[in-house]
Symmetry: C2
Subunit: 344 residues, 2 copies
C-alpha cells in the first residue's frame, strides 16, 4: 500500500531563534512493505500532534548534549508524540480504525516501526487532545519531576516558572492537590488570570512586569522557597536559588530561555547552593517511565472528577506547525500546544 504524505521538515540546522523560513512542507510517498521479515509496522493517520520546545535542541548543528533523542536531519520527518488512527497494520494487536497514541510525526501520516512507542487508545470520556499532553509526555514529565525530583512535603512552598505552559500548569495543580503553597509566573496578564482563577494557584505574577526578579520572589515568598520547578533557566533560576530555603530542591525540567541563545547561561550563586544545602537536579521524562501507571490513574481520576484542568492550545492544519512551534519561544501558547492535522 502507498499513501502520499505531506510533512514538515527543516531546511537546515537551526542554531538561533527559529524562523518560518527555516521550515518547509515536503511530500513523500510512504510505501509499506508488510510481511517482510519480522519488521511489523503500522500506518497511522495523524490527528493531533504535540509541539514541544525541546525539539529545537534536536535541530541544532551541535548535538553533543542530546543523548536521549536523535538529531533532526534536514529534509526528513520529525517525530513527536501524538494521537492518530490506524490505516493499515501488519501487527495483530492493531486493527484498521483503531485510535492510537505514541510516537508519530509532524506530518499527515506516520509509519510506526517495531520498537517505537505506540499504544491503543481508549479516550475514557476525555477529549483526544488530553491524551497528547496532560495524559501524555507533558503530564508524566510534570508528575515524575514534581514527585520524584522535588520530593515535596505537605505545606512546603513551590514556585513554578512558565506556569501556564504544558508542564508548569500541571505541576502547579499536582502541588496544590498535594497540599503545597504554590506561586507561578508567566508572561501575560491573561496567563496570570488563568493560574489564579482557573487552576487554583495560590498566587501568580507576570515576570515581564518585574524589574528585579530576586525581589519579586522575596515578595511572593517572604518565608523562602522550598521547591522550584524550573522550565526557563536564566535569570529566573538565579533569582529562585537566591530565595531558596535550606534543603531546597530545584528541578531543571526546561531551559527555554537558553534554547534560542547558546551563549546565554544562568549563574546561580554556588555559595547559596553550598550554604543552604540546595539540590539542583536535571531530569528527563524517560527517567520516570516506571511511574506511568500511577501517573495515569491518578491524573485520569483528577481530570474526570474535575480536580485538575488541562489547558490546551490547539492550532489547525499541518501548515500551522512551524508557527505553533516558533510561538512557544514567544510565549504565545496558553497551556499545552497541539496542532490538529486531521478530523477526529
Amino acid at each position: 500500500m502507498e499513501v502520499e504524505n505531506r510533512f514538515i521538515t527543516i531546511k537546515a540546522s537551526i542554531d538561533g531563534f527559529p524562523q518560518l523560513s527555516d521550515f518547509e512542507v515536503k511530500t513523500e510517498t510512504l510505501s509499506l512493505s508488510f510481511g517482510v521479515g519480522n519488521k511489523q509496522v503500522v500506518l497511522v493517520k495523524n490527528i493531533y500532534v504535540s509541539i514541544d520546545p525541546y525539539q529545537l535542541n534536536r535541530m541544532k548543528s551541535s548535538q553533543t548534549v542530546l543523548s536521549f533523542a536523535s538529531a533532526i536531519i534536514p529534509g526528513e520527518a520529525i517525530d513527536t508524540y501524538g494521537v492518530g488512527r490506524v490505516v493499515e497494520s501488519d501487527k495483530p494487536d492493531f486493527q484498521k480504525g483503531d485510535l492510537v497514541v505514541g510516537l508519530l510525526s509532524w506530518g499527515e501520516y506516520t509509519i510506526v516501526k517495531e520498537g517505537t512507542i505506540l499504544n491503543k487508545l481508549d479516550p475514557m470520556g476525555l477529549p483526544l487532545p488530553h491524551h497528547v499532553g496532560t495524559l501524555g509526555i507533558s503530564g508524566l514529565t510534570a508528575y515524575g519531576g514534581f514527585f520524584e525530583v522535588c520530593k515535596p512535603k505537605k505545606g512546603e512552598t513551590v514556585f513554578v516558572s512558565a506556569a501556564s505552559g504544558s508542564v508548569g500548569c500541571l505541576v502547579g495543580q499536582y502541588a496544590k492537590l498535594f497540599g503545597c503553597y504554590v506561586v507561578g509566573c508567566a508572561g501575560s496578564q491573561k496567563k496570570v488570570d488563568l493560574l489564579k482563577e482557573e487552576l487554583g494557584f495560590d498566587d501568580a505574577f507576570n515576570y515581564k512586569e518585574e524589574t528585579d526578579l530576586k525581589s519579586a520572589l522575596k515578595r511572593y515568598f517572604p518565608g523562602g522557597i522550598d521547591i522550584y520547578f524550573d522550565n526557563v533557566g536564566g535569570g529566573m533560576l538565579e533569582a529562585a536559588v537566591a530565595n531558596m530555603n535550606t534543603f531546597g530542591r530545584v528541578a531543571i525540567c526546561g531551559v527555554i530561555s537558553e534554547y534560542t541563545d547558546n551563549g546565554k547561561r544562568a549563574a546561580p550563586n554556588m555559595l547559596d547552593v553550598l550554604y543552604k544545602s540546595i539540590t539542583i537536579q536535571g531530569f528527563l521524562v524517560k527517567d520516570y517511565i516506571k511511574l506511568h501507571k500511577d501517573f495515569f490513574s491518578t491524573t485520569m481520576e483528577h481530570l474526570q472528577t474535575g480536580k485538575m484542568k488541562a489547558p490546551t492550545d490547539i492550532s489547525c492544519g499541518l501548515e500551522s506547525v512551524p508557527s505553533a512551534f516558533i510561538g512557544l519561544f514567544l510565549g504565545d501558547n496558553v497551556g499545552k500546544k497541539i496542532v490538529q492535522i486531521a478530523d477526529e
Copy 2:
C-alpha cells in the same frame, strides 16, 4: 580563676581578598565564674587549631547566606575546631590535664561553654593533628560528601578539585579504597606528585598548566565523569559539568574561587544538567553528623593500617594564624592546614 589570653581577630569585615593588615592580635583577661547557675564551663589551653577557607565567608559584611555559623564580629575571638588540654573545669566529666577536641578558637585559651562541641580525646596512637583534620571536621565532610551526596558505585570515575587540600585528599583516598577511578587536580607539581605518588590517585594534573579546562578533563576522562567533588567552583565546575556522564553527581563542598570575589560566578550549562540528568548538590558537614561513628571507626582503621594518609601542613605560633589563613587562598597549603599554638 583568670588567664591572660592572646587571640587573633579581624579589625573590620573583609569583603575581598584577605590581607595581613586585616588581622590583629588582641589580649583579654578570661575570667571564669565557675558554679554560677547551671552554666558549666571548661577552660582549655589550645594546642592545635584548624585553619579553614569558609571562615572568610563569616568575615564578610553581608552574611545573608550563612545560616550555619554566626558572623565573626570584629574585635572578638574566632571559633574553630581544634585540640587542646583542660586547664580548669566546672564539668564533672572533664578533669584538669585532659586532652580534648572540639570547638576552640584562634587564641591561646578558650572558654568552652555548655552546649558547645567538646569531647575528651584518646589519640589512639595517632598524632594529635590527625584529630584536628582527618578525624575531625575535614574528614567527616569528605566522608559524608562522598558517600551520601555522591552515592558512588564501584568502578565509577571520580574527579576531585583542590585534591591536595584538607577535604579533597581524603575524598580521593575514600574513592580509591571504595573502588573508583580517581583523578585530582591541584595547583603545583609538588601537589600533583603527592596525589599520584603518595595518596594513590590514578592520575592528577596541575590546572594552572591547562589553557582549556574542558579539553583537559576530556583528556583525563575520555569516558566521562560520573562524580565531581567540587571544592573550587568557577570555571572548573563549568568544565566538569560539560564532561559529566548521564546521571552524574556533583557535590558542592566549597567554592573557594569565589570566596574572595563576590562578583565571580560559575555558569554551568543547564542544558547539560537537563539532558544528562545531572544532580548538583550543596552540602554542609552538619548535614551528616549522624555518620560520625561510622566515619570515625572506618577512618581510624584506614589510618592505623596505613591504607589512608593524612597530609598535614602545620605552622607554628599564634601569630602565624593570619598568614596561614591567607595562604589557603593562594594555594600555599599541602593537605590540612593547622596552626600549633602551644606544645603538646
